[in-house]
């Protein structure tokens, strides 16, 4: 099984080769479905000058936010940010470059990167600040802009289950950007809650085929909730 066994035994090994000024594509939506321990390892390594491609940038003490205090992130490509104070400070002071990208365009850019599509047209952002400097074109009377694909030196992904070959299954809305990020990394690193043997996952029910996965590690997760919202049991 050596050839396809993607399991590594330490987080150090999982993120080996990550260097200053690289681009990392990250899964996760807010704090949901984020690669908690891979992020912690990036913090521990102290890698600097990173370009992070991620829908959000975490909160002050969790998610990608933990990479801010030591100024590890040079630039972030995201759709929604500013949910933490240090981020705000660095953005306002110009220490942190922020490239706002519509959420669907961001998802499609990752998918395109993984799928060998260098660029695509979308109506999203036409006539807005997002369109600045981008080609505009009409198809069937509607206006579109040209958006380019994103590929990362690394992709960091959180899945629910995997087999040792790196076939992945995600759970509920923790799926979000993860399957897309998984396709868009030159080196794709995945952490999961459970690793099973090849053959244990139903081939029809695999969300991400192992061909996209380079390294796999089992972790334990805090799974912090950003907006805890409940109804009373009586309702």
């Amino acid at each position: 099984m050596a050839g396809f066994d993607k399991v590594v035994s330490s987080y150090e090994e999982a993120m080996a080769g990550l260097e200053d000024n690289m681009t990392i594509v990250s899964g996760g939506f807010g704090l949901c479905g984020i690669a908690e321990n891979l992020i912690a390892e990036i913090k521990r390594k102290g890698t600097k000058g990173l370009t992070m491609v991620s829908n959000n940038c975490g909160v002050d003490d969790f998610g990608l936010g933990v990479l801010l205090p030591n100024r590890q992130i040079k630039k972030i490509v995201a759709s929604y940010v500013g949910e933490n104070a240090e981020f705000e400070r660095q953005m306002m002071s110009g220490e942190l470059e922020v490239e706002l990208t519509p959420q669907g365009t961001l998802a499609e850019k990752m998918r395109a990167g993984g799928a060998g599509i260098p660029a695509f047209f979308t109506a999203t952002g036409y006539g807005t600040p997002v369109a600045e400097g981008k080609e505009e074109r009409e198809f069937n009377g509607r206006h579109y802009i040209l958006e380019e694909a994103i590929i990362g030196d690394f992709a960091i992904v959180k899945a629910w289950k995997a087999d040792r070959y790196g076939n992945l299954v995600f759970r509920k809305t923790a799926r979000n950007f993860n399957p897309l990020a998984a396709t868009a990394g030159k080196i794709t690193v995945v952490e999961v809650e459970e690793i099973v043997e090849p053959g244990e996952l139903d081939p029809d029910q695999i969300h991400t085929p192992g061909i996209y996965v380079n390294r796999l590690i089992q972790g334990t997760f805090e799974k912090r909730i950003e907006q805890r919202t409940v109804r009373s049991s009586a309702e």
């Binding site: 939506f29 807010g30 704090l31 949901c32 479905g33 829908n55 995201a78 759709s79 929604y80 940010v81 500013g82 949910e83 705000e88 953005m91 306002m92 922020v98 706002l100 519509p102 959420q103 669907g104 365009t105 961001l106 998802a107 499609e108 990752m110 979308t122 109506a123 999203t124 952002g125 036409y126 006539g127 807005t128 600040p129 997002v130 206006h143 629910w160 995600f170 759970r171 509920k172 809305t173 923790a174 799926r175 979000n176 950007f177 993860n178 399957p179 897309l180 969300h207 799974k223 912090r224 909730i225 950003e226 907006q227 805890r228 919202t229 409940v230 109804r231 009373s232 049991s233 309702e235």
Partner: protein, 218 residues
Amino acid sequence: MALTREQLAQRVAQELQDGYYVNLGIGIPTLVANYVPKGMEVMLQSENGLLGMGQFPTEEEIDADLINAGKQTVTMATGASVFDSAESFAMIRGGHVDLTVLGAFEVDVNGNIASYMIPGKLIKGMGGAMDLVAGADNIIVTMTHASKHGVSKLLPHCTLPLTGKGCIKKVLTDLAFIEIKDGEFHLLERAPGVSVEEIVQLTAGKLVIPQHVPEMIL
């Protein structure tokens, strides 16, 4: 009297149809879910990757892996499905969602909408709003008709950076229900007790007023 947030949601809910797939933005739009008419079923799309969003969970049901686009914990309705963000926006961008409801800072007579950015203020980002306004045929914008200082939000031209260009056809404010066509606002309904004159006064863009402007029925 100006509509309350709840009444705005109530009026929007009248635009629902049985079997509609609906995306509700954060804030007032979210409240629409509480006013789905009896006997009618709609399915809520949450752009982080869920079709068939259910109610908020009980303490026992809370699941960190199950949130909505506002990052709130939710549940799934019967017949729900989960998918990745590219699929979610394929759905949105491809025009498969029947109705989108979202808030705005400004709209103008050409159907432009500004909703995500006030220069000089902290920028948080557009999230999925640009995709939603570009992808949907059927959008209702809900907002207050004017600022607290009486400055109209229905303009000849949006002054803030746009979220989308030429994509808004219906606006429900606390004072009026308005259609946008041919570069004009068309007054369809007024809030109960609100006069046409009040609406005229607080509408900066060209407003077309029919002979009879019915009051909303809530």
